[in-house]
């Protein structure tokens, strides 16, 4: 009784909050200050068809570096707290045999899903999506492979190398921006190219590709650790 009363009270207060939000909502008709600058001059300065990408990679590129670092920290912390020992490596998951159909179709689909992830982050400056989304798609391919074959051995070294190299290259391109162009992570270290094609917008496709690889490697790392912690007996 009391519980139902509390739930309805909670719902009512939600209704009140959202009603106030709805009544007090005034749509913004024009952009202010810095947003107007991005919207007006972004396409000309950066050469990216997708303005969000221009903001994320160039104008606010430093934040993106921070986000990638936070993701790396998350992966490390998960690895730290799962406390995997050497003995865990050789354990085997006992499970009801996976359906043969799932195994075959995952063999067929995993490369194509990874290709799609690569497509998403390479076209980050033209289409919705970008490094983080593409990385997540790559990690979902890894998840599919693990689901199809729970005892699969993932090469830890490859993941580590991809992650470190892409992190280093990301920072190096940023530093090149200071040397050759306006500042850290300036994309004009490479020619702008023709607007709207794959190889345009300076260094953005390259930066975004490395962000995508880094994110994909980090999330795959987390998945791999969870897979190992699943192993029993």
């Amino acid at each position: 009784m009391l519980r139902n009363l509390l739930i309805s009270l909670l719902l009512l207060s939600f209704v009140y909050i959202f009603y106030n939000l709805y009544v007090g909502f005034t749509p913004k008709t024009e952009l202010d200050g810095i947003a107007a600058h991005y919207a007006d001059k972004g396409a000309a300065e950066i050469g990216a068809a997708n303005l969000v990408t221009a903001v994320v990679v160039t104008y606010r590129g430093f934040d993106t570096l921070g986000e990638v670092t936070i993701l790396f920290l998350t992966a490390s912390i998960i690895g730290f707290f799962l406390k995997l020992t050497e003995a865990d490596e050789n354990k085997v998951i006992i499970h009801r045999g996976t359906s043969e159909l799932l195994v075959t179709s995952s063999n067929l689909l995993v490369p194509i899903i990874i290709l799609f992830g690569i497509y998403v982050f390479m076209n980050g400056h033209l289409t919705p999506g970008g490094g983080f989304q593409g990385g997540a798609i790559i990690a979902s391919a890894v998840a599919l492979a693990i689901l199809a074959n729970p005892n699969m051995h993932i090469n830890h070294q490859i993941i580590l190398w991809v992650e470190s190299i892409s992190g280093v290259v990301f920072v190096l391109i940023g530093v090149l921006g200071i040397l050759l162009a306006g500042g850290f992570l300036d994309n004009r270290v490479l020619p702008q190219g023709q607007f709207g094609t794959l190889l345009s917008a300076g260094a953005i496709p390259i930066i975004y590709s490395f962000i995508g690889l880094k994110v994909g490697a980090e999330i795959s790392n987390i998945l791999e650790k969870y897979q190992k912690s699943q192993k029993e007996s």
């Binding site: 075959t104 063999n107 490369p111 799609f116």
Partner: protein
């Protein structure tokens, strides 16, 4: 054998890349070539998916025929199921029957199971060695050989020609 697996997966990945981009500019084709080479080396260096695939013109012709047969069956499946769903007294007679296949290639068995799943009122529940257990919405015959004749024969004959 390994070369065949690699090249078929290379072609499939390249085709997917070109379809996604739908453009034949030099840079896109070049990037696609590099990517497909890398991905097929990475994922298909040990795979056995296409080992039994025949690469003869006859097999290619049979692939086209198979797609045609499959599309006809797909439309027939839908008309059949639609009739059952919309008729007032719901005339269903379900059951699980066993079908034995003679196909050995994993890929051919995936295609067979998926085709059975998509055709009139039949659905693969379990696949084990050579036996497919199929949920049939209107059981006409529960005998193994008869059911195989009705359900799987029409696909198997073509798949036998495509996959060895």
């Amino acid at each position: 054998m390994k070369i065949k697996n690699l090249s078929v997966s290379f072609i499939i990945i390249m085709a997917a890349w070109l379809l996604l981009n739908w453009s034949f500019q030099v840079e896109i084709v070049l990037i696609g070539l590099i990517l497909s080479l890398l991905l097929s080396l990475l994922f298909c260096s040990k795979c056995q998916l296409f080992s039994e695939l025949k690469l003869t013109p006859k097999a290619f012709a049979y692939t086209l025929i198979y797609i045609f047969v499959f599309l006809i069956e797909l439309v027939k499946a839908n008309i059949d199921v639609t009739k059952r769903i919309l008729s007032p007294n719901l005339p269903i007679n379900p059951g699980v029957v066993k079908v034995e296949t003679t196909l050995n290639s994993k890929m051919a068995r995936l295609i067979l199971a998926n085709s059975i799943t998509l055709t009139p009122g039949t659905f693969t529940i379990e696949i084990h060695d050579n036996a497919l257990y199929i949920h049939w919405i209107d059981v006409k015959n529960s005998d193994v050989t008869e059911a195989t004749e009705i359900l799987a024969r029409k696909f198997e004959t073509y798949l036998k020609e495509i996959y060895d």
